[in-house]
C-alpha cells in the first residue's frame, strides 16, 4: 500500500512536470546542444547535410577583429550599465520614498515622478531606438543638436562620431532601464520598516547618512538582483544597437555587440556555422557571468 502510494505520488508529480520539462528540453536545451554541433560545421543555413569541419570556426573567430571589438563593448556595458543604472535608480527611489523632510515619505510630487520614470519601460525597444535616432539627429531637427546649434556649437554626431556613438547607446540603455529599477528599489524600500528610518533620524542622521547607513545596507539584496538582471541585459543587448546605430553596430563597428555580430553572420552573410560558433562563445561568457555573480552575491539575509 505504501509502495503504491509512493508510486502514485511520483506519477502525480511527473504528470505535472512532464509538459514544462519537455518544452524546456525541446526549445531550450536541444537548440543549445545543436548550436554546439552546428558551430563545428560549415552550414550556410539551408543545405541538408552540413560538412563537419571541427574547430575551424573557432580558430577563425580568434582572428575576427570585429567580433572581439563586440566583446569589449559587451564587457564595457557589463561594468558601466549596472553601475550607472543602479546609482541613478537608487537615488531616485530614495528621493521618491524616503527623501522627504520627515524621512519617511518622498519629496513633493513623487507620485507624479514615479509614473514618469516608468514611461520608458512601457515603450517597445524598437520605438525607443527610432525615437532616439531623432533625438540624436546631427542637424537642426535633432532634439539635442537644435539647442546646441542655437548656442553656436556645431552639431554633435551623437551616433555618427565613432568616439561618441558607444556612449550614446549606453545613455539610451540607461534611460530605458532606470524606470524599472526605480520601481524595484521602491518596492524594496517599502519592505523596510519605517521605524528604522525614524530611529535613525531621531539619532540625528541626515539624508546622506540615512542613505548610506540605513537604506543601502537594507536594500543590498535588491541591488544584487538588479545587478544580475542588468548584467544579463548588458550581455545580450541587441535591439537598440541594431535599430538605432548607423550601419547596425557602426559607425566603423564602434557600437557593435556580440548578439549583433551573431545576427549579422547568420542572417546577412548566411554563415550559420560560424554564427553558431560565436553563439557558443557568447554562451560561455554568459555562463561565466552567471556563475561569478552567484558566487559573489552569496550573503546572509537580514531578518527584521
Amino acid at each position: 500500500m505504501v509502495l503504491f502510494n509512493r508510486y502514485r505520488r511520483g506519477l502525480f508529480i511527473t504528470s505535472f512536470l512532464a509538459a514544462p520539462v519537455i518544452l524546456y528540453l525541446v526549445y531550450v536545451i536541444s537548440p543549445y546542444v545543436q548550436a554546439f554541433y552546428i558551430a563545428m560545421t560549415d552550414w550556410r543555413g539551408v543545405t541538408a547535410v552540413p560538412n563537419f569541419i571541427g574547430l575551424d570556426n573557432f580558430q577563425r573567430l580568434l582572428g575576427d577583429s570585429v567580433f572581439w571589438k563586440a566583446v569589449t563593448h559587451n564587457i564595457a556595458l557589463l561594468v558601466l550599465l549596472p553601475v550607472i543604472t543602479i546609482v541613478i535608480a537608487l537615488f531616485f527611489a530614495f528621493l521618491l520614498n524616503v527623501g522627504g523632510k520627515q524621512g519617511v515619505s518622498g519629496i513633493r510630487g513623487s507620485g507624479f515622478y514615479r509614473v514618469v520614470f516608468f514611461f520608458p519601460q512601457v515603450l517597445a525597444v524598437t520605438i525607443v531606438a527610432v525615437l532616439f535616432q531623432q533625438v540624436f539627429r546631427p542637424d537642426g531637427s535633432g532634439m539635442l543638436n537644435a539647442p546646441l546649434m542655437v548656442f553656436g556649437l556645431g552639431p554633435v554626431g551623437f551616433l555618427s562620431d565613432p568616439d561618441l556613438a558607444f556612449w550614446s547607446v549606453l545613455g539610451v540603455l540607461v534611460w530605458q532601464a532606470v524606470g524599472f529599477y526605480v520601481v524595484l528599489f521602491s518596492a524594496g524600500l517599502a519592505g523596510i520598516p519605517k521605524d528604522m528610518f525614524e530611529a535613525a533620524q531621531i539619532d540625528g542622521a541626515g539624508r546622506i547618512t540615512l542613505f548610506f547607513r540605513v537604506t543601502l545596507p537594507l536594500l543590498w539584496d535588491t541591488v544584487q538582483v538588479a545587478w544580475v538582471y542588468l548584467g544579463i541585459l548588458a550581455m545580450d543587448v541587441f535591439a537598440i544597437v541594431w535599430v538605432m546605430t548607423d550601419q547596425q553596430g557602426g559607425p566603423d563597428w564602434s557600437t557593435t555587440v556580440m548578439a549583433a555580430e551573431i545576427y549579422r553572420n547568420a542572417f546577412e552573410y548566411f554563415r550559420f556555422g560560424y554564427a553558431s560558433a560565436l553563439g557558443v562563445v557568447m554562451f560561455f561568457f554568459t555562463l561565466g557571468f552567471a556563475v561569478l555573480s552567484l558566487r559573489l552575491s552569496r550573503r546572509e539575509r537580514i531578518e527584521y
Binding site: V46, A48, S160, D161, P162, G250, D252
Partner: protein, 468 residues
Amino acid sequence: MPNTPQITRRELLRGAALVPVAGALAACATPASQPAPSSAAPAATSAANPFGVGDKPLEVWIFDGGFGQAYATDIHQPLFKSKYANVEIKHNSTKEITKVLQPRFAGGNPPEVIDNSGANFMDFGALSQDGQLQDLTPLLDAPSWDDPNVKVRDLLDPSVIDIGTYDGKFSVLGYVNYIHGIWYSQKVFDDNGWEIPKTWDAFLQLCETIKKSGEMAPFTYAGKHPQYLYEPLLTMAAKIGGNDVLVDIDNLEDGAWTAEPMLTAAEKWAEVGAKYLMQGTAGLDHVQTQTAQNKKQVAMLPCGSWLENEQKSTTPDDFAYAMFPIPDITSSDAMPYGTLHTQPGENFIVSAKSAHPQAGMEYLRAMLSKKAAGDFSELVTTVTTVKGASEGRDISPGVTSASKAVADAGENTVYYRWYTWYGPLNDEAKAATGQLMTGGLKPKAYLERMQKKADEIKNDSSITKYKR
C-alpha cells in the same frame, strides 16, 4: 524596390541566401522523373517571327513593386498582341515571386516570362544550375522589333549582357538602367550661374564658390549609408585607371584596392569630406540628405537615377533634377569624360522548361522595342536599358539628363559586383568609407584596410568565390 539601393543590396544578399533554400525545396518537391519537355514542333521561324511563336498561351508574371504592373498590361502586352492576336496572354502579378513561382519550377510547369525582382526574387544562380533559364542568346542575335537591320544586342547596354550571363549563357535581361552620377538642381545652378564642372579642379572650384556664396553647402551624401559615397569613389578610380580597376576588385586580385588609381580617388574624396560636406552629413541618411537638397540646403550629392522618383513628394516643381558624370581627374585618365557607372536591374527571365519559351523570348523582344521601352520610361519615370528609348520624349528633367549621360558615355560604362558577392567586404567598405570621409582614416590606411579585408575573404575557404 528601385528606390532605395541600400535595401536592394540587402535584398540581394538575402536572395543570395535563398539559393540553397530553393535547391532544397526543389529537391523534395521535384518528381522523380520530369515530364518530357513539351517540344511540340515549333512553328516555323521567319524574319518577322524569329523564334517561331506558335499559338499556345503565354503566361507572364510581373513583380508588383515600385513600378506597379500597369506597364505590362497597358504597354507590353497590347504590343505583343498586336502581332500575335491568337496567342492568349495570361497576366499575373505578385509581390512574392519565390513563394508563388518556386513550386511551379519544382513541378516542371513554370510560366514563360517572369519579372524576377523584389525582395523575394528567385536566385538566378540556382535557377541557372537547374537549367531553368532559357538561353537568350538567340534574342540578342534576333533583329530588333522596330528595325530588321538592327540586332537586339545593339540596343542593349553592354553591362546588361555581362551581368545577365550565367554559366556562360546570357539568360537574364535587366530592363531598367540605374545610372549613377552627381545630382543637382538645374534651377539652382542656373539661378546662381554655376556651371557643371568638367575637371576635378573645376569641381573643387565650384565647391569653393558655393561655400563662399553662403547660399548652401556644396556637397553631401547619405552619411549613414556610406555605400552612396564609395560608388563615386570606385567610378572615379575606374575613370582614372580603366575598367580593370573594378574587375580586379571584383575578382579579389592581390593589391586591387591599393592600386594607384584607387589611392588618387580616395584622396580626392577625402578632401571633399574634409572641406565641402554639409554639416552633419555623417549622421544623415539618404532621405534626409536628399530632402536637404530639395530644400536648397546643399547643392550636389551622388546618387542613381531612381532619385527623382524617390523624391517625388518633396521636390519643388521647378527643381529640375539633373546629373553630371565624374569630372576629368588628371589629363591622362584612362577613360574619357562622360564615363558612367550603370547597373541594370528589374530582371526578366524566360523559363527554359515552360510550354512556350519562344513566345517568352518574343515578349522580351517586344519589351525592347523603342515604343515599349519609351512608354515604360514615361509611365514609371525611369531609364531603361534600351538605348535611345526615351529620345525625343519629354519624360522628366532627371530622366532626360540621365538618358543623355548614357548616350554621351557610349561604350564607356563601368560597374562592379563585389558588394553583392561578398557581404562582409561590403560592410567593411561602408564602415571604412564613412571613416575616410570624416577624417578618421587617411586614404592610404583606408585602402590598406579594404585590401586586408579582401585578402581575408580571398583566403577564407568557406566563402564561395565569383569571377567576372
